[in-house]
Symmetry: C2
Subunit: 576 residues, 2 copies
């Protein structure tokens, strides 16, 4: 039976509830946003007792559908001040789904200064005090928790950065090899830290696989769906071969690779950090150039990156991290960046927010551009330990800008702008401005159509068609984020008609319903409108749907382009 598990820290209680009618048929982001919108007062302090942290597997998570293993987390964001959903792979989503847990809602605050963990198993919810693993990094924590239970339980956890409630704090989930994936953005780890939950462990022993209502129809749809992933050049070849880091050279060529704290669109040392270089390095050192971040992933864009001695260093080493520490901070040593990535996973901070933050900190003179060893040291000794400097840096790009009086601070709604310069890739700029999540490339990945030629082509340097493109992608993404699917299924979905139809067929077969493509679009719209209404009630306005001033004053080389959308053009995004 599908259920909601509710943990209330204020009275240290737990409850298992049926899924209310309003939430039936929702999963992932649609469900976390529905819960937050209906139960969290928009004006509450995001680190206070009235915020709630919601975990939800997607609609198809736990089934045999390819790439369906994502887990969403939602809350009011302490970084943006608005609603937040972030999702990741790992094993926890699938296990929650197998336990029939549609959502885990964590609410209240402990009456005493004690820390807790949550254990979820077949018909059992346990909330217990936790002392032993406080202060631990995520790598050691996952090992210890899995050792404690004697099996590869799912683990959702925060590192020291989350315990210290810094606004870069993310939430980690263990992947099938007990390595780390991240629900990265918006400071959700600080919300978990405020609730004093160090980790959640999940044991799906004794649960059957999630069974579709119409197994035959599901199987056929799943086969077609999986084939479209293989057939598309991006999900079938580009991503599996080079991972997301294939984008370094592509964006550099396009002049949209933000460099030296967003002062140029090209990085002289791009070859040293490119996906091609990374691939060869991984192969030469006996790492894994392809790797699945969750069971059932077919794209396998993750990888395992070994150090010079062939020892595991990090995995899930993404383009945005490599761009941020690389081009934006001018660090041209992939090993330094990999070490930074490992430490960020371990201490539990968002690698995009942290990299953008370091770009601003370098501009402020906290450390020199290009100082990879300095970044590694500050991650470990300052942020990870919560020193005074670490507290500043751990607050993210906007905070560092405020503390040091810097005006070139690439954030929207306080959240750091990722790896595609909005002046040279204007469609993604519209997403940054308008997303309910703050600057977030994943919420409407217009780079696909601006740069990669997926879903047609819209000139990245022209304003024409960008608002419509971003709107449509944000709507589609809100729906995809609700299915439990990895966002990268959007590549075939944009180009191969059978991809989306087979995805809808899988959902229909799974639940015995009859959704149309229009229904899926309507779901995406509804999710965005729910989130937007929460943000408005929390005090975010049209004026927050804007890029920082400097993008419209400083032309970006090499194209020497400005951000030039009018307020009315941007606001027309909401005309749906």
């Amino acid at each position: 039976m599908d259920k909601i598990v509710r943990i209330n820290l204020s009275d240290l209680s737990s409850k298992i509830e049926p899924v209310p009618a309003a939430w039936v048929g929702l999963g992932g982001r649609a469900l976390t946003s529905a819960v937050v919108a209906s139960e969290v007062p928009p004006a509450c302090h995001a680190l206070g007792a009235n915020n709630k942290l919601v975990f939800a597997p997607g609609l198809l998570t736990g089934t045999a559908a390819a790439n369906s293993g994502r887990i969403s987390a939602g809350a009011k964001s302490p970084l943006t001040g608005g609603i937040k959903e972030s999702n990741a792979g790992g094993t926890a989503g699938r296990m929650l789904a197998k336990l029939g847990i549609r959502a885990l809602i964590v609410e209240g605050m402990p009456p005493e200064d004690k820390w807790y963990s949550v254990h979820l198993a077949k018909d059992a919810v346990t909330l217990q005090e936790e002392q032993e693993l406080l202060g631990q990094g995520n790598y050691a924590l996952v090992q210890a928790v899995q050792a404690r239970y004697g099996k590869p339980v799912g683990v959702i956890s925060i590192g020291p950065v989350g315990e210290m409630k810094m606004l870069t704090a993310n939430i980690s989930v263990a992947d099938p090899e007990s390595h780390i994936r991240s629900l990265g953005r918006g400071g959700l780890g600080a919300v978990m830290g405020a609730k004093k939950i160090k980790f959640i462990s999940i044991d799906d022993t004794g649960t059957p696989p999630v069974m579709p209502k119409d197994a035959a129809k599901f199987k056929e749809a799943a086969r077609i769906f999986a084939k479209t992933l293989l057939d598309h050049p991006v999900s079938g070849q580009g991503l599996p071969t080079y991972g997301t880091n294939v984008l370094v050279n592509i964006l550099n060529e396009a002049g949209g690779l933000p460099t030296r704290n967003f002062t140029s669109g090209q990085y002289a040392d791009h070859d040293k950090i490119s996906g091609e270089t990374m691939h060869d390095t991984i192969v030469a050192r006996g790492g894994q150039p392809t790797h699945a971040c969750h069971p059932g992933c077919q794209i396998q864009c993750s990888q395992v990156y070994n150090d010079k001695d062939g020892k595991y260093l990090t995995s899930g080493f993404e383009y945005e991290t490599i761009w941020g520490m690389g081009a934006d901070c001018c660090i041209n040593d992939l090993d330094d960046i990999a070490m930074a990535d490992r430490i960020m996973d371990d201490i539990g901070c968002d690698s995009i927010e942290t990299a953008v933050m370091f770009g601003v900190a370098m501009e402020a003179g906290v450390l020199p551009f290009g100082d990879g060893k300095g970044v590694v040291r500050m991650l470990k000794d300052e942020i990870g330990r919560g020193t005074t400097l670490g507290r500043i840096l751990g607050g993210g790009a906007a905070q560092v800008g405020r503390v040091y009086g810097i005006t070139r601070v690439p954030v929207v709604k306080n959240q750091g702008i990722p790896a595609y310069d909005p002046r040279a890739v204007k469609g993604i700029g519209v997403t940054y401005a308008m997303s309910t999540m703050g600057a977030d490339h994943t919420s409407g990945y217009a780079v696909a159509t601006n740069i990669l030629g997926v879903g047609g082509h819209v000139d990245p340097l022209s304003k024409v068609g960008q608002v419509e493109l971003a709107r449509n992608l944000n709507i589609a993404t809100a729906a995809i984020d609700s299915t439990g699917m990895c966002l990268f299924i959007a590549f075939p979905a944009l180009d191969i008609p059978e991809c989306l139809s087979s995805l809808i067929d899988m959902i229909n077969a799974c639940f015995g319903i009859n959704l149309s493509g229009d229904d899926v679009t309507a779901l995406g719209k509804s999710v965005l409108k729910t989130e937007h209404a929460f943000n408005v009630a929390a005090g975010l306005t049209k004026e927050h749907d804007r890029l920082p001033e400097f993008f419209s004053k400083e032309a970006l080389p090499p194209h020497n382009v400005l951000w030039d959308f009018t307020p009315d053009e941007l606001d027309s995004y909401w005309n749906f």
Copy 2:
């Protein structure tokens, strides 16, 4: 001839312009807000080239009217994100008025990393590079500037905190004894620092006094006006005897003295920091219990506070500072607080914002409650020097709350809540919530009618009548802030009919016009609406016109009262 002086740092030019028709008849806050609203893009970065810093003496500043010597500064605030006006006494306002300068507008940003000073004299505006006095505190700077010119020129300056663009930075003006008064709130000193203006000196040599058009009528009105100041018990007796610090015991008795970071309304050691104790201490040490902060002040609520050896320590030692460092930080040693006050004046940071910030920092464990020596050390060695910790603390209460993940952070629109708990003095709470300035007691001092019995009586613990009270006081204050009058003339103005009528007579006699009381009210309304429209355009919403969540969740002893206004009740403030 009245004129506008414009300094543009971007091309290092200066211009003298006639007063445009739209600004004729405006002074002080009405003028600074008009300039900011018409010339500053609301969405600009407050520390960037597009913000403007405007200084304006009041309408009557420079005349013989009692208490008319205030100077206003305005800009977009880097602290609140909205419009800001702050005013102070000192000699600069009078000198600007005598030079015929209705407004000094500082705009742009220097193309190079160089600092400047501005010198204003009869028919001369000089912008010159400044090196010698960089890094100096305000006390030494005023001495040096006056020595440089060989006379007591007016000085408007920033200390190191402003140079470092921290958000607590204020702007200082020299008083008649070359001591320091402050345009305190909203981080205006950071705006001046961003423009790289270390100081502005003003020499009124050779200028005649400001002559009213109808000298006889003016003289008679000024006489009546001055008499009302003497006749009212607050401006005629209470303030001259004990200064503003007379309020410690009064607010403690009322249960509205925010204590230990706003967790109680009474402070056990209130007697040790009270105005009565302070008066006796000043007298015993040969200080001055009464003192005028600007020429022509008749209330003389300022004082000179000497140290144990009878040596000058500080002046302009106000209730809000003493409350903040005293009750709110639980520091019960008046000498420690006086030393803190002196250092804040010298390094140039707002004593309210800084005191509220220390209350939050103490809750965060940065230093213990009651640690007066620690506060003095941190002001001097951390904030004043811009160390890493100093950068955190120098950002004010909201920043410290964010950096350390604290939820009890008493701010509105990021600006620290002053010395009257809004739960126990509900009228001032409405002002905090609704003021265009962020939490600012001076923008509508409902304490007068809630606690002091001035202007009638409205029960401080009841919601009844508070919104109307706050609205009327904010409207009246916006007008008073435009005249150049000290706000304390509001006490007689609320109780003695001749006060306001003689004030209007003085304005009419001065300019040869025929304003009525309704015109003055209309001016106040117009100022508030201009400011509010700027704030809305800058992204502030109704949701920002609210007190922090904890005020409605944590009952305040001893009355155990909550903040309990509904959104609609608060929003009705704008029904005019």
